[in-house]
């Protein structure tokens, strides 16, 4: 186990959530139509993630193994309800903008993924560092993607016009298809960087670099199922 600093900083670049660990795609795609929405969503996620990590880490020894997922969900859901209320009370326009994606933070794989992979095995101060780091990394990515889409897709940044009236915004980017394409290209860029770095340092490439959502149990299981099906088919043919 690393130090607080290393647990914190890994979320900022080495394992930055939606770009490296492909976690929490739905809000990443849906709310990044502008930089401001990305930032707001990120703030809500920081709050939930950091607190849920700490709480889960605190109660990790008393939770029975069989119902641990239910406990994680209960804790995360309470925090999400709290965020919902706070957001309505103090940032109502943002709440309206983010819409259904605020309650959906609870099923964001990032929360359960970190709970399962980190908070349930580590002491609270490390869990807090991990949660904050991951949360801030998530916010940075969302703001980055939101800025990219807003600047080119609408010609503004945080609502300020950038290029003047002669700029014809490439509005493909702020529509649904643009979200997918933009995120896909950014992920490809991150992969390209990993490959390039590995080659330059003469290291073996992490064999899992494109395995998809690493922290989320669902995807791992999915690959197992796919492999199993393939085996079954081969068996049937032979």
């Amino acid at each position: 186990m690393g130090s607080v600093a290393s647990e914190f900083t890994k979320g900022l670049w080495k394992e930055i959530p939606p770009f490296r660990l492909v976690l929490g795609l739905c809000p990443t795609l849906a709310v990044t139509t502008s930089a401001e929405n990305g930032l707001g969503m990120g703030a809500a996620v920081i709050f939930v993630l950091a607190l849920s990590n700490v709480l889960i880490s605190l109660v990790r020894s008393i939770i029975p193994k069989k119902v641990r997922i239910a406990c994680f969900i209960a804790i995360a859901a309470s925090l999400v309800v709290a965020v919902e209320m706070l957001m309505q009370a103090f940032a109502y326009p943002l709440y309206q903008q983010l819409g259904i994606f605020v309650p959906l933070i609870v099923v964001n794989c990032i929360i359960l993924g970190r709970a399962e992979a980190f908070a349930a095995k580590n002491p609270p101060h490390l869990a807090l560092a991990d949660g904050l780091g991951m949360g801030i990394g998530f916010t940075l990515s969302l703001t980055f993607l939101g800025s990219l889409r807003e600047i080119f897709g609408a010609g503004t940044w945080f609502g300020h016009s950038l290029f003047g009236p002669n700029y014809h915004p490439f509005s493909f980017l702020v529509q649904a298809p643009g979200a997918f394409v933009c995120l896909g290209i950014i992920l490809a860029g991150m992969n390209f960087l990993s490959i390039w770095q590995a080659k330059r340092k003469g290291l073996e490439l992490d064999p899992n670099f494109d395995a998809g959502c690493k922290g989320c149990m669902a995807c791992k299981k999915m690959d197992e199922i796919a492999a199993q099906k393939r085996l079954e088919r081969l068996g049937a043919k032979a």
């Binding site: 014809h168 915004p169 509005s171 298809p177 394409v181 290209i185 390209f192």
Partner: protein, 315 residues
């Protein structure tokens, strides 16, 4: 990773080359499109030439630029990028501003094919992707009527969309065939495009199933609507000759990697795209839905291709 070319190399010598090459195919494609392009230039003037040249050039340059980091051997000499660029330019208004042509042409190459590994890997028709991206981004600059104000003619499909079937009743099939109306740069020269398509068929570069079933799909669906209410819906022949229908049938739909390869799937593919074209023209917000219909049909290609002939002796 069973991902590289090695996936294909499982044969034993000797081989016999059919003589058909990619370069040759593209060369013929560009050649048969030349008359339609020339007529487009004659009708829309110098602008048309600029758009064609810019689109072709951008396509080739983008491909070359993207191939470097992808570590592919440059393949500008096989004309595929040029052909994609020209096919894309054929669907633009002749007066499209330069930046729209550049962005669209680059999108065609990058999103349409390079992200999937280049020509032959693309699951969708690349020029249709470029056209659709531009249409959802800058509808005003892709609006044929609005962009070609300097000409006294009208664009039949926009008129149909906004003013109803009466406003296009006076347009005869003959004038549509000759392209005596506003329209996309090359694609609206229906007569010459049709001749080009027939030439490709005759040369054996395109099989008849897709174009014929597509035109049948367009005709059939339009006929149903026309029979329901001839006052409200345009006649089927109008839908076949107006807009980019014929161009779509011969040049977009049979896009090599994106169309099915078996006979029955090809026929279904064409019919599906034809029906979708009319549905988009009747209900959608875009006057000419043909490239969208191409994309939608392309998405179904892998599923359609499941309808395969049984191998002899297979179970």
């Amino acid at each position: 990773m069973v991902n590289q070319q090695s996936a294909f190399t499982v044969t034993a010598a000797p081989f016999w080359h059919s003589g058909r090459t990619l370069t040759g195919d593209m060369y013929r494609l560009l050649l048969v499109l030349l008359p339609a392009a020339l007529l487009g230039m004659y009708r829309f003037g110098y602008d048309a030439l600029t758009v064609l040249a810019l689109a072709g050039l951008t396509a080739v340059a983008t491909e070359a630029l993207v191939q470097r980091p992808m570590r592919q051997t440059p393949s500008a000499h096989d004309f595929t990028a040029l052909a994609d660029g020209i096919l894309f330019a054929f669907m633009l208004p002749a007066t499209a501003p330069w930046w729209i042509v550049v962005v669209g042409s680059a999108t065609t190459i990058i999103l349409g094919r390079m992200v999937f590994g280049g020509y032959g890997g693309s699951p969708v028709c690349a020029p249709a992707v470029g056209w659709c991206v531009l249409t959802v981004s800058w509808p005003a600059y892709m609006d044929l009527n609005g962009m070609l104000l300097a000409w006294d003619l009208v664009e039949p499909l926009s008129d149909l969309k906004y003013f109803g079937a009466e406003s296009v009743a006076h347009i005869t099939p003959g004038s549509l065939l000759l392209g005596e109306h506003l329209g996309a740069l090359g694609a609206s020269q229906s007569g010459l495009v049709l001749l080009a398509g027939i030439a490709l068929l005759a040369m054996g570069r395109v099989r008849w199933h897709i174009p014929v079933s597509y035109l049948a799909g367009v005709f059939g669906t339009a006929l149903i609507y026309w029979l329901i209410d001839p006052q409200l819906y345009a006649p089927p022949l109008f839908h076949i000759l107006a807009g980019t229908t014929i161009f779509t049938a011969f040049f977009l739909l049979p896009y090599p990697s994106a169309a099915p390869v078996f006979r029955i799937p090809m026929l279904l593919f064409g019919l599906l795209a034809g029906a979708l074209t009319i549905l988009i023209r009747v209900y959608g917000i875009y006057p000419d839905g043909a490239p969208f219909a191409v994309l939608l049909a392309n998405l179904c290609t892998p599923l359609l291709d499941l309808i395969q002939p049984k191998p002899f002796g297979g179970r």
